[in-house]
Symmetry: C2
Subunit: 475 residues, 2 copies
């Protein structure tokens, strides 16, 4: 560029593209110069250790076809065909389940480090199972070592919030018809004082008992008459009806009710019991969450253990730690302290009451629904905060860290574009963009329950550690 | 502007704002010049007669407070509280109903000028009522003068498509709790071969008989146990669930099912009958249309007859004529030939099979739902054609011809902005923008049924004539 051209440049109206510090652009804006701020972070967020490991990627890719491995994982996710095949109990259906085994959400955690809501749900679960007579006794028993604690995720299971699953609890049984693997989740208890938010009073236990004695057997019988539920089809529909399958499930719950209703009324069940079932379902818009979660679980489990694949196969929290797993490293967890949630609080509660991020429901985001499909559910912002524009932006941003666009789960408002699907650890490292998650918020103390809902950023460390393990494995 | 400045102008990159003929902008575009085409039409669309009448508006407004009158109409629409209070029959509930009176959609029309689908529905209705033994006999009777034909709208009633309402048909009874007026509509028959689309075979009649003998009494009894249905609340909800209440009603239908289910199962009814009711409801996503329509009707009827108000209180078609009514001119119709619909056709059908625009369902648009709320229902384009962006644009454009934004009906994707509500004839004349309507398409011959769905532009003449009547009345 010669001097004449440079002079010409200064005669023209400038439009400046700014990378990095936003204050540069702000100064120019103040002078009346048009600027475009690029949302850019240095690779690895400026983390030198990670940046150096990134330099090894060329030599790794010469040995391992990471792109092909991730394509394969994405294809498996897209092919997944989650189907509700039965309702059973945890004891009968879940592999490895036993009476003194309590499953919990998130990565492994021992009693000593357990969060308030998880402890509350364990205490309630012990009384529900009749293993303890009082809540005090239950607390002692939980601390005694008599009870084994293992993640739901180690048993093809997912649990919302505390995610406590005990032997007698009814569970949805799902099968991924494309790959044959199964997944399990309890039935959703509704909102308010419920075990999954760490509440454990007698009303909580009584409802769990009713779910075991009435709700589950009645739904199981209706499901048998109806036949299997094609969850892939139903989830595709709810994305056209303002749900995203994680914190907004009103359409999904409605579809399950209307699908099962003609069969529920065929059963030989006392009228009063049937009325209570319909009333419970109609009063509980989150009923569908415990179907969208195991749907996601059985889709993503088929993509685990692919050599060379950096696709995230688990994101889960226990109120103490946030943990992820990656396809190529199989069962290995990468954890970091669970973050706090930025959200809206129920009347009478504030951020001071909140437990850190908790629950397996982030499994939805791993298959392109939940936070990744928020653009399909703009009304969700009334529950989790923000504006509809934010919801749209969240989805749009997630395309940058995902391997593919979903073939079946589509967003009408984005011209039926497939949802961003298959979270790639490598892309997270390269872009510095973290997966978007929306979630409920539990009280930090045992025995209380839900206090709000909001958005949360997973800890960078989980993804950095997964990346380090990947580099170590393939260097 | 001196010569130096003009020369400077030609040195700069031009951005041209073009009004009027789009070809000017296209030529510039071809030369690489950026252009912005302004969607502008001359006042009254260049119609000299109307333009001259527009000149009288200042003197009219000096005598009549049109703005205040339209504000009052808008307030009445916003205050409306449509509520389902009962299910009855047309003969018992609708004022002025008698055995030889057949109500039809749209403005008045005699047998000789009736469209194919309307004739088909009349023939079916005569056999359904037992007034004729065969379809041939029915056709003769319809032409004989023995049967009186009047618009649904003259009886506080609305009917989708042909809109034929006969004495024995069950009807929803709605009350506008804010103003005490009532509205009526039949129960929706489902899709496929149905009377409202002009089909009249024995299967059509058998279904109508079942609706009379089983469906309506069962729903009536459940409704009585449940209590009144607050339609304002339900319509607000469905706009957050991807429905717009005219051609997309999946969420609305789902909500009605889940609301009534706990009461349906309490009834003393044979299981088989209850099963059939639930199956029918679950298989018919348009069931809610016959609730959104009378909801709109009882909202807007309260805004009729306001001195000086140019708000549209009726838009309706009978497959022959499109007719509107305006608040200040009360019961007077302004009609023009019904236009053809631009839409998507069912397999095996094309535009050659289509009847002109038909049905009272355009009542939804008069209160800010239906076509006016399409931005809330982007998935509707799979049914009526176009893209989600078109759906958004339709709603956005309607703000230019409406008096207010709805206080309760909101569009999440537009940051919960109230839907464009209260169509103003004056604004239509001034802007040249016509109300957006989406609709089903009936076969032009009697006896066949639905062939598609799409978008339609009401004839300009209706609004021009209403405006002329307004000027004449107040000059």
């Amino acid at each position: 560029m010669d001097v004449a051209n440079i002079n010409k440049l200064f005669e023209e109206n400038l439009t400046v593209v700014n990378l990095g510090l936003e204050s540069f652009a702000e100064n120019l804006n103040n002078e009346g110069v048009k600027t475009v701020q690029v949302q850019w972070k240095p690779p690895a967020g400026g983390n030198m250790e990670i940046a150096e490991l990134l330099d090894k990627m060329d030599s790794i890719k010469a040995k391992v076809d990471v792109d092909a491995a991730n394509k394969k994982a994405a294809e498996i996710i897209n092919n997944g065909k989650p189907t509700v095949v039965d309702i059973s109990t945890a004891g009968k259906a879940i592999p490895g389940m036993r009476k003194n085994l309590f499953l919990h959400a998130g990565p492994p955690v021992e009693w000593e480090r357990m969060s308030g809501p998880t402890r509350g749900a364990v205490i309630g679960g012990l009384v529900y199972e009749g293993l303890a007579g009082t809540y005090e006794e239950a607390e002692k028993m939980a601390a005694s070592g008599e009870i084994d604690f293992e993640p739901c995720h180690h048993h093809a299971t997912v649990g919302p919030m505390a995610g406590i699953v005990t032997y007698s609890m009814p569970v949805w049984v799902l099968e991924n018809k494309a790959y044959g693997n199964k997944a399990y989740a309890t039935l959703n208890e509704g909102l308010g004082k419920v075990l999954r938010y760490g509440a454990y009073g007698d009303d909580v236990i009584a409802k769990l008992k009713w779910m075991e004695s009435d709700l589950a057997p009645i739904l199981k019988a209706a499901l048998k008459l109806h036949g299997e539920l094609d969850m892939k089809n139903i989830i595709a529909q709810i994305l056209q009806m303002g749900d995203e399958g994680h914190n907004r499930n009103r359409a999904g719950t409605s579809i399950v009710i209307r699908e099962l209703a003609p069969y529920l009324v065929q059963l030989d069940v006392e009228k009063e019991k049937l009325v209570k079932v319909f009333e419970f379902l109609n009063a509980n818009d989150h009923f569908f969450l415990n179907l969208s979660m195991p749907s996601a679980k059985c889709i993503i489990d088929a993509a685990a253990g692919i050599e060379g694949s950096t696709i995230v196969t688990t994101m889960a929290r226990n109120g103490t730690d946030f943990g992820i797993r990656m396809s190529c490293t199989g069962d290995q967890w990468f954890t970091a302290p669970a973050p706090m949630v930025d959200g809206l609080y129920l009347p009478g509660y504030s951020a001071d009451d909140a437990a850190p991020d908790i629950g397996d429901s982030t499994i939805t985001e791993t298959v392109g629904i939940g936070g990744f499909a928020m653009a399909a559910a703009p009304a969700i912002v009334k529950f989790v905060g923000g504006t509809p524009k934010d919801a749209l932006n969240v989805t749009t941003r997630m395309y940058e860290i995902t391997e593919t666009e979903n073939k079946i789960f589509q967003i009408p408002a984005l011209d039926f574009r497939g949802t961003p699907t298959g979270i790639d650890v490598l892309k997270i490292i390269e872009t510095g963009i973290l997966p978007a998650v929306n979630t409920g918020i539990a009280h930090k103390k045992p025995g209380i329950g839900m206090v709000g809902a909001g958005l949360v950023k997973p800890p960078e460390k989980c993804f950095n550690d997964a990346f380090k393990a990947f580099v170590e494995k393939y260097s």
